[in-house]
């Protein structure tokens, strides 16, 4: 593996980048949102399926993403889905960029904006669901 990138990204980032979790599309999602734009180089799309549970209330039964972007953009998209899957909506929308970066073992300072995009994308997908329901 290229040493330069090993030092740039943590092992966890590389793991989520090379083997992204929950990547794909939910057909007939409860909510979805697209954030970023191709000019900036990063575009993320989040799909959510909301379930209802007596204990948890409304929760994320399933989350999937599609991302066009750099290693950090793909890894943060993957990590946020892991962090929020199965969580009540109220908890899921509180996930911060800092929490995503920490769960990934840290991100280079210049790449922090990628995780800003991931938490924004998920929040917007939840908003989209709320508007619909």
């Amino acid at each position: 593996m290229d040493k330069l990138f090993n030092s740039l990204y943590s092992k966890k980032v590389m793991d989520h980048f090379l083997k992204p979790r929950n990547m794909g599309v939910i057909k007939d999602p409860s909510g979805q949102a697209i954030v970023g734009n191709p000019r900036c180089g990063d575009v993320m799309k989040f799909y959510i399926k909301v379930g209802k549970d007596i204990k948890k209330g409304e929760y994320l039964k399933d989350v999937k993403f599609q991302t066009l972007g750099c290693g950090a953009a793909i890894a943060t998209s993957s990590m946020i889905t892991v962090l929020v899957k199965g969580k009540p909506l109220k908890e899921a929308e509180k996930v911060t960029k800092k929490a995503i970066a920490e769960a990934l073992g840290g991100l280079p300072a210049i790449k922090m904006h990628c995780s800003v995009l991931a938490d924004e994308g998920l929040k917007k997908a939840i908003e989209n669901y709320r508007k619909k329901s």
Binding site: F5, G41, M44, L68
Partner: protein, 307 residues
């Protein structure tokens, strides 16, 4: 103080661009950064039109390091010889010609007399010499002030104890590369043709740089709907080393200044990739690289949302 005028291009290496910016900041020089065409080529007419009575230097790289385009060095040399004849009569300063031949030295004609060059710079690490050693050819009689003060080494131009093993290594590398230049250009050129023709068969891929006037060892593309850093990382994990001009890999988060100057959109620049070939590259490696490249591009495109 009278300001000197320098003419260079927008696609030079940062080593040149940052130096020019520094001279501007010090208030010593006005600099013209000439635009290039869609292939990354400077126009000789633009150079002629940009000269003023204060012009003292034209600095144009021989081969662009990102896209491989060969600049019209001989034509620029001829132009300056013509202009300088007239300037001598008018008592105007002679315009000196510098070329950064880093990417050209082992493949192209670098005969400074034939090309009309006053200064030619080159580096060791592109020609299998040690890293950290380079050379500047200075035509004798060319006015040049010292770069640093000290013990007066290197004809009093660059003080500091010489690193003899590195200098010998660089000399030997130049000698070896000159000896096998013709053969090496031929074999690398045929691998380059193979790589370009194979990769251009993929949908959504475009060659960057000049289709014919390009150095044999540089192959560069833009791939749509793929981000360059992700491509570099995945290829690297598969054992293929390439580079990209994607904004995501730069400290400024700006796309490649070379591709931007060529009119490539920011969207496409994100998906730029450069392969470098060398004396050890084999046909099998090219075929493997093409196969892996195709797989990874498909994988990344599947990961991207449809907009």
């Amino acid at each position: 103080m009278k300001k000197f005028h320098i003419i260079t291009s927008q696609v030079e290496h940062k080593a040149m661009l940052e130096t020019c910016k520094h001279l501007e900041k010090l208030g010593w020089a006005n600099v013209t950064y000439l635009p290039v065409d869609k292939f990354g080529m400077v126009s000789v007419t633009d150079i002629e039109n940009a000269t003023t009575e204060h012009t003292v230097l034209v600095s144009i790289m021989y081969v662009n390091n990102e896209v491989g385009t060969i600049q019209p060095i001989k034509e620029i040399g001829n132009l300056l010889i013509k202009l300088n004849k007239r300037r001598t009569v008018n008592h105007e300063p002679r315009i000196l010609f510098h070329t950064d031949a880093t990417q050209a030295i082992q493949y192209l004609d670098c005969n400074v007399d034939r090309l009309g060059i006053d200064f030619l710079s080159l580096t060791g690490h592109k020609i299998y010499a040690p890293k950290g050693v380079g050379a500047l050819f200075v035509r004798s009689g060319t006015p040049l002030i010292r770069q640093m003060d000290g013990g007066g080494q290197e004809l009093k131009l660059r003080s500091g104890t010489e690193n003899v093993p590195y200098i010998v290594g660089l000399g030997k590398a130049v000698e070896v590369s000159a000896k096998c230049k013709v053969q090496r250009v031929k074999s690398i050129r045929s691998l380059q043709k193979l790589l370009i023709s194979r990769i251009l068969q993929f949908p959504g891929v475009k060659l960057t740089g000049h289709p014919i006037k390009r150095a044999p060892h540089i192959v560069s593309f833009v791939v749509n709907n793929v981000e360059g850093e992700a491509l570099v990382l995945m290829l690297s994990a598969a054992g293929i080393m390439v580079s990209t001009g994607s904004a995501c890999t730069s400290n400024s988060l700006e796309p490649s200044h070379v591709l931007t100057a060529m009119g490539v959109s920011a969207e496409l620049s994100h998906g730029s990739v450069r392969f470098s070939l060398g004396k050890h590259t084999t046909e099998k490696e090219i075929n493997d690289a093409v196969r892996i490249f195709e797989e990874i591009v498909q994988k990344l495109r599947l990961m991207a949302p449809q907009i």
